[in-house]
C-alpha cells in the first residue's frame, strides 16, 4: 500500500533536519493530496498550501536568524505537521460558536435553517430546540417545509419527543407560515423561534427567492447553513450562493459521526468567512455539539 497524503508528507521530511525550499514542495504535494482526498475544495486547497509554504519557510528563516525562540527546534517532519495543524485550526476557528439569541422588543429571537436537500435541517432544528430548552429558553419550532411529503409530520414527531411545540399550518405558503409562526411565538411567550425550511438547490431561483422573503419577513438573528459533512467539491458553490443571498451567520456540519473527512468545514470558512458553529454527531436529538476546530483539523488531514 503506497503511503499517500499527509502521512507521506511526514515520512518524506522525517530524515530532514529542517524544512527547505527543496523539500517543502514535495511535502506540499503530499499535503495537497491529503486535502483533496479530504474533500477540501481545489481552490481553497491551493490557497491553503500557499499559506503553509509561506509560514513554513518563514519560520525557518526566523529560527536561523535567532528570532524564532517561540518556535521550538524540532525535526522537519514535526515542524511541518505542526504548521499544517495550526494553520488549519486558525483558519477554521475563531471561537465564534455562540448563537445570537437575544430577544428584542419586537419579539423572540429567530433562527433560520437553510440548506440542500437531505442535509439534516429538520433533525438539526429539533436538536437545537432541545438544547435551548435545556438552557432554560422557550423555543418554538416552525414547520415551513410545505413541499416534502410528511415533512411537517416529521418535525411534529420530533417536537413531541422533546416536548416542544411545533407551529404548523395546512397551507402552502412557507413565507406566511414563518411570519405567522413568529407572531404565534410572540403571543404565546416563546422566546426563540426555529424555522425549518425545505431543502433546495442554489440554482432553483424561485425557492431561493422564497428564502429571501422568509428572511425579510422574520429578520432572523441567526441564518445557519446546514451542510452534510460528506459534501464534496460543491461546498464552496453551495455556501457562497446561500451566503450571497442571505448573509449566513454560521454553518452546521452534520453527520460527522461517520468517517467523512469533512473538508467542507475548511472550504466553507475559507471561501465565505462563515464560521462553523455546530456539528451534528448522530441521529439522536442529543447529538449536536459546538464546533471544535482542532479536532476537525486533524480529521481533514487524515
Amino acid at each position: 500500500v503506497l503511503t499517500k497524503g499527509f502521512r507521506a508528507a511526514r515520512l518524506r521530511l522525517r530524515g530532514e533536519a529542517e524544512i527547505t525550499d527543496a523539500n517543502v514542495d514535495a511535502a506540499l504535494r503530499d499535503l495537497r493530496r491529503a486535502l483533496l482526498e479530504g474533500d477540501v475544495a481545489l481552490d481553497v486547497a491551493k490557497r491553503f498550501l500557499a499559506r503553509v509554504k509561506e509560514e513554513a519557510l518563514g519560520q525557518v528563516v526566523r529560527l536561523k536568524a535567532g528570532k524564532g525562540d517561540d518556535e521550538v527546534r524540532v525535526t522537519a517532519g514535526d515542524h511541518f505537521t505542526r504548521i499544517c495543524q495550526e494553520q488549519l485550526t486558525a483558519l477554521m476557528g475563531a471561537g465564534e460558536t455562540d448563537l445570537a439569541l437575544e430577544t428584542t422588543k419586537k419579539g423572540p429571537a429567530v433562527l433560520l435553517l437553510v440548506g440542500l436537500q437531505g442535509s439534516g435541517k429538520t433533525t438539526t432544528a429539533a436538536k437545537l430546540a432541545r438544547n435551548l430548552k435545556k438552557e432554560g429558553r422557550k423555543p418554538l419550532l416552525v414547520a415551513a417545509d410545505v413541499y416534502r411529503p410528511a415533512a411537517i409530520d416529521q418535525l411534529a414527531v420530533l417536537g413531541e419527543r422533546i416536548d416542544i411545540p411545533v407551529y404548523r399550518e395546512e397551507g402552502e405558503d412557507a413565507v406566511k407560515i414563518c411570519k405567522r409562526g413568529v407572531a404565534a411565538a410572540t403571543k404565546e411567550g416563546r422566546d426563540v423561534v426555529i424555522l425549518d425550511t425545505a431543502g433546495r438547490l442554489v440554482v432553483d431561483e424561485p425557492l431561493m427567492r422564497e428564502l429571501d422573503k422568509i428572511a425579510k419577513a422574520t429578520r432572523p438573528s441567526e441564518t445557519l447553513l446546514v451542510c452534510d459533512a460528506m459534501i464534496g467539491q460543491e461546498a464552496v458553490t453551495t455556501a457562497t450562493a446561500f451566503h450571497d443571498r442571505l448573509s449566513l451567520t454560521g454553518a452546521v456540519l452534520t453527520k460527522l459521526d461517520g468517517d467523512a473527512r469533512g473538508g467542507a468545514a475548511l472550504s466553507i470558512r475559507e471561501a465565505t468567512g462563515v464560521p462553523i458553529k455546530l456539528v451534528g454527531m448522530g441521529e439522536g436529538l442529543d447529538r449536536l455539539e459546538p464546533f471544535r476546530p482542532e479536532a476537525l483539523a486533524s480529521r481533514i488531514l487524515g
Binding site: 483533496l36 474533500d39 437531505g118 452534510d228 467539491q233 461517520g258 468517517d259 473538508g263
Partner: protein, 279 residues
Amino acid sequence: LLGRRKIDEALLEELETLLISSDLGVDTTLDILDTVRERASRNELADASAIRELIRDHLTTTLEGVEAPLTLAAEPGPAILIVIGVNGSGKTTTIGKLAFRLVRDGKGVVIAAADTYRAAAAEQLVVWGERAECTVVRKEAGADPAAVVFDALAQAKKEGADVVIIDTAGRLHTETNLMEELAKIARVASRQVPDAPHEVLLVLDATTGQNAVQQAELFHRYTGLTGLVLTKLDGTAKGGIVVGITHRLKVPVKLIGIGEGVEDLRDFDAGAFIDALMS
C-alpha cells in the same frame, strides 16, 4: 476549454481542475492525466480536442463496461429490490419515482416501508405510494424491519405483484450493527424468494465527495451491490464519484434522480453523464 489548443502543462492543469472539481477524486484524475501525458509524449495526441476524446473513451469504458439493466421481473416472482444508502441520500424519493414508473408501465408493485426508525418515514412513503397508486406495507414505528419485509412479501403474493421495493432507514456505513441489520433484511428476502434480492441499489447523493468510495465499499461488503442510483443531479454537482466506484467494484449506475417530482427519474446514460461532466 478544449478546442484546438496545443498540449502543455497549463492545459493539463486546467484538465486537472475540471476533473477534481467534478469529484472524480485524486486517483482517478491522476490515472487519466498520466495516460494523457504518456500519449502526448509519444506524439499520439494532436491537440486538446484529441485529449477530450481520450478522456471520453476512458470514462466510457469504465461506465459502459459494466452497464446492466434493472432487474424488474423474476420467475418465480416477485422481483425484490432493496434500496440502501446513507442518511438523506434520496432512497425514499427514488422508490416513489420508481414505483410510479413501474405502475405506469403496467407492473404490479408493492412497497415495503422497512424504515421503522426515522420520524414519519412510513408517512412519507405512504404519500409516494398514493402518487404511484400502489400498496405500501407498513408497521408501527420501532417494528422489526424484517417483519415489514415479511408482510410485504405476503401482500405481494396476495396481489400477484411483479415487484417488491424495500425502503430501508438511512445509515452510516460505519455503524456495524446497522450494517448487519441490512444484511439480515437481505437474508430474509433471499429465504422467501429464490435469487432474491434481485437488486440491491445503493443510493448516492451526487454532491457527495470521496466518502462515497467508503460508502460503496462497506455496503457492498455487507449486502453485495447490484447497482448505484445517483440522485440530485439536477443540482450543480457532477457526481464524478461514481467513476472510481464503478471502476473498483464493477457495479453499474442504473438510475439517476434529476428532481423531486414523481417523474424525475431516468435510466443512466453514460454518454450524457460524461458530456455533463466534461462541460
